[in-house]
C-alpha cells in the first residue's frame, strides 16, 4: 500500500511505479524511430517480409541504393562485364543491376546543410542585435514591435507562399540557395529575437556599463562583453534555428525543385522497383535524423525555452 501522503517525498513504491510506466512509454515511443533505423540495415526482401523481422542479417543495400542510381540488366550483359571493383558494385550486381551513377541524395543533403547553416547564421546574428536593443534600450512601441515579430510566426506558410512565389520569380530568387536562406532567416527571426532577448535579460547590465566607463563604445561593449557572455544562449538559439531549417518542408516543396531542393521533400521520392525502396528511405531518414537527435541531446537543458519562444524558462 502506498501510505505516503506527501507530494514532496513520494514513497519509494510510488517512485518505482512511476519509473516503470515512464520506461514503458519511452520504449514504445522509440519503437518507430528504431524501426526506421533497423530497416535501413535490412535488404529489400527482409524489409517487406511479414511478420516483420526483428532479427535479420544486416545489409548495406539501403545505403548503397540511397547513394546510387541503378538500372536492371540481363544476365548475359552482366556476365560480359569485368568483375566488380568493389563491394557495393558486387552487391548491386547480385541484384542483376549495374550502377549508372550517383543519386541526388548527396546534393539534397548538402543543400539542407548550406541553407540550414546560412539561415541560422543570419537569423542568430540579426536576432542578437535586435534582442540586445529590446533588452537594453527604451524602444518606442517595444511591446507592439515584439508582438508583431512573434505574430509573423502565426501565418500558415501556405498563405504567404503564393505571394513569395510570385515575388521570387520576379527577383530571380526562385529555386535558389540565397532565396531559401533569406526565407528561412525571416521565419527563424521571431524565434531568435524572443529567445535571445530572454538570454540577454539575464546578463547584468553592469558588465557593459563598466566596460563603457573604461572607454568602450556601446558597439564595442556589445561585441566584446555582451556577446561572449551570451554564448550559451546564442548556441542554443542557433541549434533551434538549425533544426527548424533542417526540418522545414512546406516552403521547400513549394519553392524549390531542381537546384536548391532540400532533403525533406526529396526523401519521400526515393523509389525502388515496384514501389518505395524502404531500406533506402530508412537510410535517408536515418542520416537525416541523426544530426537532430545529437543536437537534441546537447540541447536538453534549453529545450523548454526553445519550444516556447522563451515563455517558459524553468
Amino acid at each position: 500500500m502506498d501510505t505516503s501522503r506527501s507530494y514532496l517525498e513520494p514513497s519509494s513504491f510510488s517512485k518505482k511505479m512511476a519509473a516503470a510506466i515512464i520506461i514503458v512509454y519511452a520504449v514504445v515511443t522509440l519503437i518507430p524511430i528504431s524501426w526506421m533505423v533497423m530497416t535501413s540495415f535490412k535488404n529489400v526482401d527482409s524489409a517487406i517480409s511479414y511478420p516483420p523481422e526483428v532479427l535479420f542479417e544486416p545489409s548495406l543495400e539501403g545505403y548503397v541504393n540511397l547513394f546510387t542510381n541503378r538500372s536492371r540488366q540481363s544476365q548475359e550483359y552482366l556476365d560480359s562485364l569485368p568483375p566488380p571493383e568493389n563491394w557495393y558494385e558486387e552487391l548491386v550486381r547480385s541484384r542483376e543491376m549495374v550502377i549508372t551513377g550517383p543519386s541526388k541524395f548527396l546534393g539534397r543533403y548538402s543543400n539542407s546543410m548550406i541553407i540550414g547553416f546560412g539561415s541560422t547564421f543570419a537569423s542568430v546574428f540579426l536576432g542578437a542585435l535586435a534582442a540586445y536593443a529590446f533588452s537594453r534600450f527604451r524602444v518606442p512601441l517595444k511591446d507592439d514591435l515584439l508582438f508583431f515579430i512573434l505574430s509573423t510566426r502565426m501565418f500558415p506558410p501556405i498563405a504567404v507562399a503564393v505571394p513569395i512565389f510570385i515575388m521570387y520569380r520576379k527577383l530571380g530568387l526562385g529555386d535558389t540557395h540565397l532565396g531559401m536562406i533569406i526565407l528561412y532567416t525571416v521565419v527563424n527571426l521571431s524565434l531568435a529575437v524572443w529567445l535571445l532577448k530572454g538570454f540577454m535579460d539575464e546578463i547584468p547590465k553592469e558588465y557593459e556599463e563598466a566596460a563603457m566607463i573604461d572607454g568602450y563604445s556601446r558597439l564595442q561593449a556589445f561585441f566584446k562583453v555582451v556577446l561572449p557572455q551570451a554564448m550559451t544562449g546564442i548556441a542554443a538559439t542557433a541549434i533551434f534555428c538549425m533544426i527548424f531549417s533542417w526540418n522545414e518542408y512546406a516552403f521547400a516543396v513549394l519553392l524549390t525543385q531542381f537546384n536548391a531542393q532540400t532533403a525533406p521533400p526529396f526523401i519521400p521520392t526515393i523509389i525502388g522497383e515496384g514501389g518505395l525502396d524502404w531500406p533506402a528511405i530508412g537510410a535517408g531518414t536515418t542520416l537525416f535524423l541523426l544530426p537532430v537527435m545529437i543536437f537534441t541531446i546537447i540541447l536538453r537543458k534549453h529545450l523548454l525555452r526553445g519550444i516556447t519562444f522563451g515563455a517558459v524558462r524553468k
Partner: protein, 299 residues
Amino acid sequence: MSVKKKFKGLSDKAVGWLFIGPTVLLLLAINIYPLVYAIKMSFTNFYANKIGREPQFVGLKNYIKVLNKEAIWEKMQVTASFMFWTLLLQAIIGLGLALLLNRKFKGNELLTTLIVLPMMLSPAVVGVFWTYLYNPQVGLFNYMVNFFYDLGSFDMIGSSTLAPWAIVIVDTWMWTPFTMLICLAGLRSVPNYLYEAAEVDRASKWQQFIYITLPSVLPFLLLALLFRGIENFKMFDMVVELTSGGPGSATELASINLKREAFEKWKTGYSSAFAVILFVTIFGFGNVYVKVMNKIKER
C-alpha cells in the same frame, strides 16, 4: 554635457535603430509585404500561372465563394476534429507523464530526453516513415495491433474511417512530449511550502492535487495547448506525406486544401481569400484564448 555623451561612439538611440532596423525591414519585406499582397489578390480574379493576363478587381466575390462553398466547411470540420482529438490526447497523456516524471526517480533526466526525441524530427520525414509502419501488408503498427488484439487486415491510410485516426495517432506520438515538458516546468514551479502547509492542515493527497497541483499547472497546460493549437491549425507537412489529404478528402485539412487550390489549380485570387480567412480565424481565436488564459492565471 548631456548624460549620453559621456561614452564615446554612437548614441544609444542610434545603436538601437541600427540593431532593430534590419530585423524589422526583413520581416516587412518577406512577411508583411506578401501578406498585404495576398490581401490585395484576394479581391481579384488573378491566376498566378497565367502571366500577362491583367487581373480584375472583383470585390468580395472570392470571400463569398469561399464561405458559401460546402467543401470548405467540410475541411474546417476535418481540421476541427483533428485539433480536438490531438489536443485532448496530448493534454491528458502529456500531463500524466509530467506528473510521473515529477516524482524525481533515478534516471528521469535521461528518460525525459529520450521521450522528447520524436518532436524534434522533421514532420515530413515522420509522415513518410509512418506510411511504412501503417502499411497494411507489412507494417509494424498493424502487426503489433494484431499481436495484442486480432483485427485481421486493416488499412489505416486507405480507409476513410481510419485515416483521420492515423494522423491523430502520429501527431500525438510526435507532440505529447511538448505538453509533457511544459507541464513538467509548471509542476516544478509550485513552491514546496504550499504542500507543507497543506500537510499541516491534514489535507489528503487527492485534495492537495485538486487544490494545489492542478491550479498551478493549468496555466502551463493552456500555454502548451495554445502553441499546439496554432501549429495544428496550420498542419501541413506531416499529413501531406502520410495521407496527402486522402482517401478522398477524409484528412484534407484546411492548409492542404489551400495548397491544392493555390498550387495545383492556381486559383490565386480565390485561394488568397481563403488564406486571409484562415489567418483571421487563427488570429482571432488566438487573441480570445490568450485573454481567457490570462484571466485564469490571475485567479
